[in-house]
Symmetry: C2
Subunit: 378 residues, 2 copies
């Protein structure tokens, strides 16, 4: 028997209850029934993001939401500081470039998170920058940035802060209004325990002021159109309504478990995985590790491709490899979605087995025991 | 017992088999397993569109696919003739305007389809127009345009033809290569019997030449990125992979039934509905009626809102009303998706009942009998 278990940092595992809700006969999206669902979902998204601002739902991937945020917030005359410490930070820069948006790339070595001091220095050096774009949890490197600290810097100035919360929102602490973040985006297939297909953009009043002050070359990703439709609990274009039904189930589960409990559960799984890895003689890749996903160096003498292939074919477990120059060098294990500490133990157990297969020196159970010590501490 | 039946011109009914396929445990999209599915899907999309060209799958609604086609095919220096005979023709014009794309709107009264002679005249009058955008089956008015004839006109000149096939592809005859159409878009929630969430763009070599000849301000909707990824049976951004699994099931069903048979089935349902309406003393709205959706004038003395509400609450049937200035004046009944002649009879039967409820003069069964005569002829 091989049971499929997804430990990729998105898509993540989806609760059966959500899958079955989405498998119900499809209804139309311009109905009173659907508008009631959409109103409830939007209210619960505010809880998720920690904001009283607008939470807009787009049909598209996280990149779609990113483009919507960037293009809407950066009409001609504005300039962005793009914090680029990995594949996704890099993508935000590419979006700016594609639309001819003025920007400065602030690069850090992969695995490092952005800190307020660094951002402050960059803003001091170029007063024409009025927008900061930062990836909270960089999925490609499993590194976390200090968004709360960076928001303190941008809040003090006339600088807008756009945060990529794709592997952060719903997994690690994100408090949009309390921290003073202006825009946060996320996607459905990470902590939101849904398949890919929905993107979300949360927008505060400061950001709306910016958005309303300019016109940008966009139609499908025009946030103003989404805001207008949202007033009637609707979307400007046909939405992936079936996924929104699933989202409602997810958001009720999130509310019931409580964000604080979820953050704690995710942090425990991450710490357990990191300590297990160290006990197994492995090294954590990120200097500033995120709790939503863990990246580990592949030990010398171990073939990454064989390791991942074996995890999948023998044990039904899917983890992620490294991207770009990290291909073959790191593995990434997600802690998001419909996943608990026992799932975390499963993947550590399987990892021990596939390492042993490659004659890696390891006392069976040493990783599991280290993880269990973390879990027992709670 | 109230059974839900969707007769909206999208979303349409989805086969149970497809719903259950999409309810299977979610897997990752960057796997050999998924690439095999995507390769198969892409091949079957070519059959659907009638093309040897690239068939690209985007995560987004039909409008997303429309934006991708327009923006990619109309870099600076090109000019479009936008055939605008309804809500969706109008939307294509708005997309052009949002991106600052030069265009002339060619307006026809709602309910009329575009003909080759008209397009030819417009092209003759303005030699700077090098692109024609036409909606094959205009969902808002249920009118069909002569795309085959228009393609003859554009093929003869150095003019690109972009077709909105959203309620056409998979429902009424569309033969991309044979007719010489350069770009066709469609969405998942119409004839493709899926929930909303996927958009498709089919592109021939002539269109690629245009696309490769310019740069446009776009990132998420950049067709070049989709083409590049498709070479490896992949997508540039995270795809709605669960829907693509459902799509595979749908496309195999389409192949099995055969496009010719599907076109015939849809045409029979449309004709049956039109003849039923006439027998019931109602009038067909469109001068050039499409076979994928039928629009009917609401008879005098009948309240459209009450009629649709009653259809839904008493009989579980959802049909669509009119948009913009046609609100309250017409109803629209779709013939797309997981639907057969007996479903078509159901909605005609229910329509008779809700009309009788409003004291509309009608001999019960007169519509059904007229429809049945069409069905019996085959």
């Amino acid at each position: 028997m091989t049971k499929l278990r997804l430990f990729t940092p998105g898509p993540a595992m989806v609760p059966e209850e959500v899958l079955l809700t989405m498998a119900r006969p499809v209804d139309h999206h311009r109905t009173a029934q659907f508008r009631a669902v959409f109103e409830d979902v939007t209210k619960h998204l505010q809880y998720l993001f920690g904001t009283k601002g607008a939470c807009l739902t787009l049909t598209g991937s996280g990149t779609c939401a990113a483009e919507a945020a960037i293009v809407s917030c950066l009409p001609k005359g504005h300039k962005a500081l793009v914090c680029d410490g990995g594949k996704f930070g890099e993508r935000w820069g590419k979006i700016c470039d594609a639309f001819g948006i003025a920007n400065t790339k602030y690069k850090l070595d992969w695995g490092h998170g952005f800190k307020p001091e660094g951002v402050k220095k960059m803003l001091d050096a170029d007063k024409s920058i009025d927008t900061v774009i930062v990836t909270h949890s960089e999925t490609s490197t499993a590194a976390v940035s200090d968004v709360q600290g960076i928001a303190k810097v941008t809040r003090e100035r006339d600088v807008l802060l756009i945060v990529d919360g794709i592997t952060a929102v719903g997994a690690i602490p994100v408090k949009m209004d309390e921290w003073g973040v202006d825009v946060i985006i996320t996607g459905s297939q990470k902590a939101l325990m849904l398949p890919p297909g929905l993107g979300f953009v949360a927008v505060n009043d400061r950001a709306w002021k910016r958005i309303d002050g300019g016109t940008t070359p966009t139609y499908y990703n025009n946030l103003k159109a989404y805001r207008k439709s949202m007033a009637g609990n609707d979307t400007p274009f046909t939405s992936a309504n079936v996924m929104i039904l699933g989202l409602q189930v997810v958001l009720h589960r999130v509310k019931e478990e409580g964000l604080e409990s979820i953050w704690k559960r995710v942090a425990t799984m991450a710490r357990a995985t990191r300590e297990a890895a160290v006990a197994m003689g492995m090294k954590v890749f990120a200097a500033d590790p995120s709790d939503s996903v863990t990246a580990l160096w592949v030990p010398e003498g171990v073939d990454e491709k064989t390791l991942r292939k074996s995890l999948r074919s023998k044990y039904g477990m899917q983890i992620a490899g490294g991207q770009d120059h990290l291909e073959g060098k790191i593995i990434r294990i997600g802690h998001m979605g419909y996943i608990d500490v026992f799932d975390a133990l499963s993947v550590i157990g399987a990892l021990e087995l596939v390492l042993l297969e490659q004659r890696y020196k390891l006392e069976p159970g040493v990783g599991l025991a280290a993880a269990q010590r973390v879990i027992a501490r709670g």
